[in-house]
Symmetry: C2
Subunit: 241 residues, 2 copies
């Protein structure tokens, strides 16, 4: 599975040269996904984007699923790792910041419902480093795993709701007018103040407004990490033996 991620095959010597590289194919696929959206991504369109025949892609990649895993691993590869000299909390916050930036750069990652992580080297490197940072707390390892998962899924959730609503319209620009028109029509027609009083109050107070800002995830992460800090037992000898 995804040998390509770990073992890029040695260049063949016998036949004709490859016209492209694997990197070019992955890049083209990401560009198509960014331009047309993840569910308009098809082998034919990637090939067309590269100016080759559809079936030629299969000399670079075993199939669409594998190409997709390569795309995901590529996206994770852009995540920088925190400075290990920082305190654990700053390192974890840095990881969250990078994850957020990744979803911002590659919104198709959210639609991609990575129901199983691709186990690529970039993914594993980033996760290992997050685990390492959380482990600096000294908490039991089972808690470390859970906390790291919380951080990731918290940022994912924030990114998902950010992409979900306003931003999808403004980013892709066009053709979302119809979507908004129908949605506005929905609110006008079916929304009932009596049935959804709390949502109405939140709406009127502007509580749903901050869609694509860092505040969306910083609040939750702060809450989470405050809780983690309280889990850490005070060190028995704060200074000196």
């Amino acid at each position: 599975m995804i040998e390509l991620l770990w073992n890029p095959p040695p260049p063949k010597t016998r036949g004709p040269k490859q016209r492209l590289t694997l990197d070019q194919v992955v890049t083209a696929a990401i560009e198509v996904a960014a331009t047309l959206g993840i569910d308009e991504l098809s082998m034919r369109k990637v090939a067309q984007h590269l100016g080759v025949g559809a079936m030629s892609l299969y000399t670079y990649v075993p199939g669409k699923d594998e190409l997709f895993e390569l795309m995901i691993d590529r996206a994770w590869g852009d995540r920088r790792l925190p400075d290990r000299a920082l305190p654990w909390r700053a390192q974890v916050e840095f990881h969250a910041q990078e994850a957020w930036r990744m979803y911002e750069t590659h919104p198709w990652l959210i639609r991609s419902n990575l129901w199983r992580m691709p186990l690529g080297p970039n993914v594993l490197d980033a996760q290992e480093d997050l685990y390492r940072a959380v482990a600096l707390t000294g908490l039991p390892l089972s808690d470390v795993a859970r906390i790291a998962g919380l951080v990731e899924s918290q940022v994912f959730g924030a990114a998902r709701s950010a992409v979900t609503d306003t931003s999808v319209a403004s980013h892709t620009g066009v053709s979302q007018d119809a979507y908004w028109e129908s949605r506005a029509g929905f609110w006008r027609t079916y929304y009932s103040f009596e049935r959804f009083p709390t949502m109405t109050r939140i709406w009127e107070s502007g509580g749903f407004d901050e869609e694509y800002s860092d505040a969306a995830w910083e609040f939750g992460l702060g809450l989470l990490l405050d809780g983690v800090e309280r889990l850490i037992p005070p060190s028995p000898h704060p200074a000196g033996t």
Copy 2:
């Protein structure tokens, strides 16, 4: 958009009777998704499951997307609401419990990348009630919205990682052997103790084991709600006056 969810059309009086009901169609679709998995779901298979022609479904439902939204709203309709006499924390925990149960019952919801909520009545009722429960804390409404989002995405994240790994194999039972074989082969071939020391330690300590148990989300939710409790300013007059 999804008029069907809010305005089930009045039964027609002119033509022949419908052979089925909308509910039957949605039920059949959910059964197909549960049996074959969400990406094997197709109009033709749902129709076959019902013993009708493929195109007959389109007299009940405008298209596959709408059918899918009906499926999601149906799943949310199974969520019970907490007793309003309980303290806010117990109500929120009840909501999380119900969300977890929903993902357990309908794993296809996780694969379903609900990038936009369907805005069905059941979805909105459940969300409204969660907002209401969180609002009992008396916190600012913008925080209420964020906290409710955190609770949902936390349970979603836990459910996703639970479904992702072991459980997908054991639940669907068959044909996942190949998946596991290849994954085991991966660990044997590429996993490096030196490269991933923290993950190795967590693995050896059993920190990755608790996949499909309530502990997966209870820990994170506890952390979260502890943090929320600390946000609540102590009531100025705990008793008296």
